[in-house]
């Protein structure tokens, strides 16, 4: 039996609940401004492998989870959000903040490990319409599942990632300063 097949078999037979490793961020007020979130085709179709030749590889279709998660994170943080597939030219950005997520890394313990853990990293950058970078931050999403079932584990990670990304944006004084400057406060 190939290792990956064993992993999947054990993962399914020991299927159990999945819980987010962290509490969701406190839901404060949204940032009173408009943000453009750039969700490229590449980002929304991203896949990643974990594992190795001995343990077997797992393929995570992360784009399907990350694309809506990234958009949701921005919608939770800002009052108004514009979604684009490419970075707009300065003259097309309407003076708005531009947020760009980029998948960085994923890691998971083996499917046969009790209390399986998965972690996913997403890099966020916030730029002015002219391209000046205001803020960069790697945000982590984690989840622990009692057993196997990588898709449900990945979904729990994505939920955690939404909460942590929203919190990071709300806490960013660089983003707040940009929005306040734009509003003339």
């Amino acid at each position: 039996m190939r290792p990956i097949a064993l992993s999947l078999l054990l993962g399914l037979t020991m299927l159990d609940g999945v819980a987010s490793a962290q509490e969701p961020a406190a839901s404060g007020g949204k940032i009173a401004g408009t943000a453009i979130v750039v969700l490229t085709r590449e980002f929304c179709t991203a896949e990643a492998n974990t594992g190795n030749r001995t343990s077997g590889f797992e393929v995570f279709r992360l784009g399907r989870l990350l694309c809506p998660s990234a958009e949701q994170a921005v919608r939770n943080a800002f009052e108004r959000v514009i979604r684009m597939e490419t970075v707009p030219k300065p003259e097309d950005a309407g003076g708005h903040l531009i947020l760009i997520p980029r998948f960085t890394d994923v890691e998971a313990t083996h499917t046969i490990v009790k209390n399986r853990k998965m972690a996913l990293l997403l890099d966020w950058s916030a730029t002015e319409p002219g391209g000046r970078v205001l803020w960069v931050q790697t945000v982590e999403g984690t989840a622990v599942g009692k057993n196997g079932a990588h898709q449900s584990l990945a979904e729990a990670v994505a939920q955690d990632l939404v909460a942590n990304s929203t919190e990071a944006m709300k806490k960013s004084q660089e983003i707040r300063h940009f929005i306040e400057d734009r509003l003339g406060k």
Binding site: M1, L6, L10, A46, E47, A48, N49, T50, N52, T54, S55, F103, T104, D105, V106, E107, A108, T109, H110, I112, V113, K114, N115, K117, A119, L121, D123, S125, R132, V133, L134, W135, V136, Q137, T138, E140, S172, Q173, E174
Partner: protein
């Protein structure tokens, strides 16, 4: 189920019972308390090499130097710059001794080509040397640890970050130290911090002794 499959399942169950490994948290001192401390434009940065096996095992879970990687903690302080400073992880470069070219900081699994050795390869090397059939249990046991180690490395490695005035940041990089079959005497690190106002990079350069004998 065949005998072989039964044996593998049994091993897997044994493995799962031993899979959870705990690692100590690395709590750095303020950057200016390290000998390597440098300060430029109100930004402070220090590198903290971790060459000893005991510390590596405690904090990272593996003897990485024996596998050709020197863990280095990078401590960042925005002490007196009025603007935020940004560290973009991919902008951190490493080189060896007298090399004139620097490579991208090696790190994690991500789509597209990566330069140098990445964390997955590092982890793969850790258990790759166990020989023969007798090694199967060891391989599986190590594998469970390795997957845990990989998560630990992911959580402790340097990430892109914005350091506001008065704040601190940091994380580990895993610098390759091998030049062919020998360990390089020095590792060079170039750590740029981007000024949040001008977006210009402030470069911090370090030369770190790997402990290898001079050629």
């Amino acid at each position: 189920m065949t005998v072989a499959n039964t044996a593998v399942v049994a091993l897997a169950l044994i493995l799962s019972a031993h899979a959870e490994q705990r690692f100590a948290d690395f709590k750095p001192l303020p950057a200016n308390q390290y000998p390597s401390y440098q300060e430029l434009q109100g930004l402070g940065l220090a590198v903290v090499p971790m060459p000893d096996k005991a510390s590596q095992m405690s904090y990272l879970g593996a003897d990485l130097l024996a596998q050709g990687f020197l863990p280095v903690y990078i401590a960042i302080e925005n002490r007196a710059n009025p603007h935020s400073a940004m560290l973009v992880r991919e902008a951190v470069l490493y080189g060896h001794g007298d090399s004139e070219t620097m490579s991208q900081n090696p790190r994690a699994l991500r789509p597209g080509p990566t330069k140098g050795m990445d964390r997955a390869e590092t982890a793969a090397r850790l258990w790759g040397g166990v020989p023969g059939a007798v090694g199967v249990v060891l391989v599986l046991h190590k594998l469970s640890n390795i997957t845990n180690i990989r998560l630990n490395l992911l959580e402790k490695e340097l990430r892109s970050q914005t350091v506001a005035p008065g704040k601190t940041g940091g994380g580990f990089v895993f610098a390759p130290v091998m030049e062919g079959r020998t360990r390089a005497k020095d590792v060079l690190l170039d750590v740029p911090l981007k000024d949040g106002d001008s977006n210009e990079d402030v470069h911090f350069h370090f030369r770190i002794d790997t402990g290898a004998e001079a050629k």
